[in-house]
Symmetry: C2
Subunit: 208 residues, 2 copies
């Protein structure tokens, strides 16, 4: 039932939602991330995004001709960042801090959105978004793990030949695998176990 009071409220809300270009765009991109992180890539619709952003479908289509275009821009705008490499005095502490940041990024709204895209997208679309994932997620995280490991080599708590490319995938791979296969949420103690069982033995200086 629409009372005159609620009609007035609706009018005033509509007025307050008459947003200018960049503000409306940000609202649409936010709504796209929200949809991705709740209903996933397959569940996301342009209608749903328009509804979430409290705008019309035409306003969405005017800017983004397809779901793929919209999702690419939404991820690009919202990608979580990991900051600068930590420097806490030991490779163990640095890795622990870095893993906590990876966890925070994974379970943030853009991180959940990204994971739904990674998991659900089929080949062709994945290809299209793949460049974004590589330059926006994989490369920055690899860079930080590499920096932490290289500082450890300089400090002496990492073996000097710990330079192989695959080394920097171990933490992201385990975090993705156990979150998917074991529904792990990566508590602090699970992160500590990963570092102590895997990363410290893998990196420590050899015999002699």
């Amino acid at each position: 039932m629409v009372t005159s009071r609620s009609a007035a409220t609706a009018r005033s809300q509509r007025a307050s939602l008459r947003r200018r270009g960049p503000v409306l765009e940000r609202a649409i991109l936010e709504a796209a991330l929200e949809q991705l992180s709740t209903v996933g890539w397959n569940g996301l619709t342009m209608e749903g995004v328009a509804f979430g952003a409290q705008t019309g479908k035409a306003a969405v289509y005017r800017r983004w001709p397809s779901k793929e275009d919209l999702v690419a821009d939404a991820l690009q705008a919202g990608l979580p960042t990991l900051g600068e490499a930590p420097d806490l005095g030991s490779v163990r502490e640095d890795l622990y801090e870095l893993c906590r940041r990876v966890r925070a990024a994974m379970y943030s709204k853009p991180g959940s959105a990204l994971r739904s895209v990674i998991h659900e997208c089929d080949g062709e679309i994945a290809e299209r978004l793949h460049g974004l994932i590589v330059t926006g997620v994989i490369e920055p995280s690899t860079r930080l793990f590499r920096e932490v490991v290289q500082r450890g080599i300089g400090r002496g708590d990492v073996r000097p030949d710990a330079t192989g490319e695959l080394l920097f995938d171990v933490v992201p791979a385990l975090m993705m695998y156990r979150s998917k296969m074991c529904a792990s949420e990566w508590t602090d103690s699970e992160i500590a176990a990963m570092i102590d069982q895997i990363m410290v033995p893998l990196l420590r200086p050899g015999r002699g």
Copy 2:
């Protein structure tokens, strides 16, 4: 255009497809795996499976009331197996052989079907199929990696404290991660690099 010749062929094909219970069931389960590995979980329909098995939709629904039931049985029946733990004289050779078997299983038809379920399923369904994945895939593969590592401890080419649970996830996690994120197909030389860069340093006996 249906000629009398092709009508006769169709009749004879239909006759040859009048299959008995277990034979028809196997054809339906096969068709379900085929659908999963080509169009994925989201693309699979009961109609598509019936068509693939050259039977009617009713024959499928009579046995499996839902897509989830059908997929659970299809995966259960077709899960790739890894055989007994290899025993080739060194942990490096054993891991190499085991990884090649994991790769063969991953890229087999049931393996592709399974990966599509793991990646595409949403929370609730994933929960339902999760027990199957744990008992049919994760546990058997963990058991073999553990056996290979324990034999290495006995032999002396693995450190005695290499017993943490997470150790046995490293290979499956890396294989899944790089197949998903880097479209790696795990050539023999990539498998060798993983073993030499990650597993051998991670497992080798400590200093002194």
